[in-house]
């Protein structure tokens, strides 16, 4: 570099000429325009009077009040409840599979990975409509049962269990793969040592495996929880009108109802809720300690 003395030492270079700052500039601009801007606008709209399309009105809390008075909180409760149920089911289903993939299947683990990952390449909506054809009255499953056993199973579609099934089906990879990584990180010697010190299989699971797999469990759990909280297609396609999830309300407010402030207030509350949950969970569980960095 042809620069003078000042540029030879990093601490003398003006901050905006530091390589780190310069390299971060494009992505910072992109985030500002594409992420922070819209987010601020949504927050702004949430304080505007109902059914307005500009940000220069006098701020009001009317929209926040209406969340309670118009019982929109029910959609929140449904979304939260379904998220909890889905995450618990996913954990119970995925842990054994992940354990097998990490420790038992050997070369076959790649096959399982492919089987789980390939459907992601197909649009979620198309896969869900596939399930509609299967679960529909006189559909593939019902028809097969009628033909083979003379039993009709017609009430499967448009129920809450159908929604939960769809959520578990769609978000399975997002729980499974973090769990595989979490379980892979547990050295076999630790489990052998626990066994050698008298621990039964269950005690090894509780005392060694589970706490050490916790980073993977946390990541899988938070990822799927947030995804379900923001999900829309499963409840619409497999659930019909049986329940309304919060994203459904948000979509209707912005499109059909043309009430941007209402949609904004619901979005802001959903964001705050997700943020709070993630923050609290990550604070409570000390990942560094579990991984052994401290």
């Amino acid at each position: 570099m042809a620069g003078g003395k000042a540029e030879r030492h990093g601490d003398h270079v003006s901050w905006f000429r530091q390589p780190g700052v310069l390299a971060a500039l494009p992505v910072s601009l992109f985030l500002l325009v594409g992420f922070a801007g819209p987010l601020l606008m949504v927050i702004g709209y949430s304080f505007m009077p109902p059914r307005t399309f500009s940000l220069d009105q006098a701020p009001t809390l009317a929209n926040y009040v209406s969340v309670v008075t118009d019982s929109y909180y029910l959609s929140f409760v449904w979304s939260l409840w379904l998220a909890v149920v889905t995450v618990v089911l996913l954990f119970l289903i995925c842990y054994p599979i992940a354990y097998g993939m990490a420790k038992l299947f050997g070369r076959w683990a790649n096959l399982v990975t492919a089987a789980v990952a390939i459907p992601i390449l197909i649009s979620e909506n198309i896969r869900l409509f596939g399930w509609v054809l299967i679960l529909l009255k006189n559909g593939i499953f019902d028809g097969t049962m009628q033909t083979l056993f003379g039993v009709s199973v017609s009430g499967l579609l448009y129920t809450v269990p159908a929604i939960i099934f769809g959520l578990v089906y769609v978000y399975l990879p997002f729980m499974l793969f973090p769990l595989v990584i979490g379980i892979t990180m547990i050295p076999d010697a630790l489990k052998e040592a626990a066994s050698d010190l008298g621990a039964s299989r269950w005690q090894i699971f509780r005392e060694v495996e589970l706490p050490l797999a916790m980073p993977g469990i946390m990541i899988g759990g938070i990822l799927t929880f947030i995804l379900v909280l923001g999900s829309l297609a499963e409840s619409k396609i497999l659930g019909g009108q049986v329940i309304v999830m919060i994203s459904d309300d948000i979509e209707s407010a912005f499109t059909f109802a043309q009430n941007w402030p209402k949609g904004s207030v619901l979005s802001v509350l959903l964001l705050a809720l997700s943020g709070l949950i993630v923050f609290v969970l990550f604070r409570r569980i000390d990942l560094d300690r579990i991984i052994g960095r401290r």
Binding site: P187, A189, L190, E192, A193, A194, S195, D196, L197, G198, A199, S200, Q203, E207, V208, P211, L212, R289, I290, I291, G292, R293, R294
Partner: protein
């Protein structure tokens, strides 16, 4: 005591095969109570498989392992009254020092007060500060982690304590310190220790008896000085450290002929029925220069290298007749009087050499 005691741990024809590969072949061994027994072998000799079977993490293909008169082949690891210190130590990274030490007691349902008291006793016995109780194991140094692993195993109060090369990753000085500490702990607790290592030197320092393993078999068992003075074959002798080894055959009464040079050397005592084998002479019994003049066995060679080994100096001498390179050692303060490139005589007394059959 005159009563005949049955062995504490006995192995009868213990064999382990993995497919076509035999990792451990027909091992017979008896270890008595309170003994410090070390299995020594190079990597791949089967010693790790051996210890994994002993603690219950692998099952023998055939043979019996008998602990205090009971066959333990099918007893799972968590039901055996034995415990191991792992090569990786296998400390639980998510638990504190105290929780690691107390692990087996917690599993056994011992109450918190008793556990804490015992943990403190062990911290003290292993010269760890009491305030380490709440420290994370990954905040501790290598030597401290060794002691925590040992404390955790002792807290289990095992009938036999197994060690899978726990000191191999440490630097020389720390290893030496811990070897001595381990021997002290063995004396204080009076427990039976079974240790495996690839370092015969380490085994020598600590053990009451040593078993040498090679290719899945135990080739020699004995007290350290027996192994050192009377190795059964070239493998054991070379395992002890650098030695001069000659391929020889019998050459009359108490004499052997070196097959490479055709020279004849005197030996102190020819084993009965000896025909061919190896003559082994340790570098430290070899004489060089003036000292070699009146030796019954002599060789001439060119001194081409010298190494300082701390308390000793090692000289490399290339034979003038064969391509054999001899090793000769002298004490640091009595160096060879000449210099490099000298043609010198080296020699040894018949009683200082070891003759083993092939």
């Amino acid at each position: 005591m005159s009563e005949v005691r049955q062995p504490f741990l006995e192995l009868k024809g213990v064999t382990k095969r993995f497919g076509q590969f035999t990792a451990v072949a027909d091992v017979n061994l008896a270890i008595s109570e309170g003994e410090f027994f070390t299995l020594v072998g190079p990597s791949g000799s089967g010693k790790t498989t051996m210890i994994r079977m002993l603690v219950g993490m692998d099952r023998p293909t055939s043979g019996e392992m008998i602990l205090q008169g009971k066959v333990i082949n099918d007893v799972p690891a968590n039901k055996r009254p034995t415990c191991m210190v792992f090569q990786s130590l296998a400390l639980f990274p998510h638990k504190s020092v105290g929780e690691n030490i107390e692990f087996s007691m917690k599993i056994a349902g011992v109450d918190a007060g008793t556990r804490r008291k015992r943990a403190n006793e062990l911290l003290e016995q292993l010269r760890l500060p009491l305030d380490y109780y709440d420290k994370g194991v990954n905040q501790c140094s290598g030597g401290e982690r060794q002691r925590i692993a040992l404390a955790r195993a002792l807290a289990f109060d095992p009938q036999i304590l197994f060690f899978d090369e726990p000191l191999s990753a440490l630097d020389f000085r720390l290893r030496k310190t811990l070897e001595k500490e381990l021997k002290d702990i063995h004396r204080e607790t009076g427990k039976t220790f079974v240790y495996i290592t690839h370092s015969l030197e380490e085994a020598m320092v600590m053990s009451d008896r040593i078993g040498i393993m090679r290719e899945g078999r135990i080739v020699q068992v004995g007290k350290p000085h027996e192994i050192y003075n009377e190795p059964v074959d070239k493998f054991v002798a070379q395992f002890m450290g650098e030695v001069n080894t000659l391929d020889v055959e019998a050459d009359g009464a108490d004499r052997v002929k070196d097959l490479a040079s055709g020279m004849s050397y005197a030996v102190a005592k020819m084993p009965a029925g000896f025909t061919r084998g190896n003559l082994i002479i340790r570098p430290e019994v070899m004489k060089i220069g003036k000292g070699a003049a009146d030796m019954p066995n002599k060789v001439e060679g060119v001194l081409f290298n010298d190494y300082a080994l701390g308390s000793r100096i090692q000289y490399q001498v290339r034979s003038t007749t064969t391509d054999m390179q001899w090793l000769v050692e002298r004490l640091q303060d009595e160096p060879y009087e000449g210099g490099l490139d000298d043609t010198v005589a080296i020699g040894w007394r018949p009683e200082d050499s070891i003759l083993v059959s092939e």
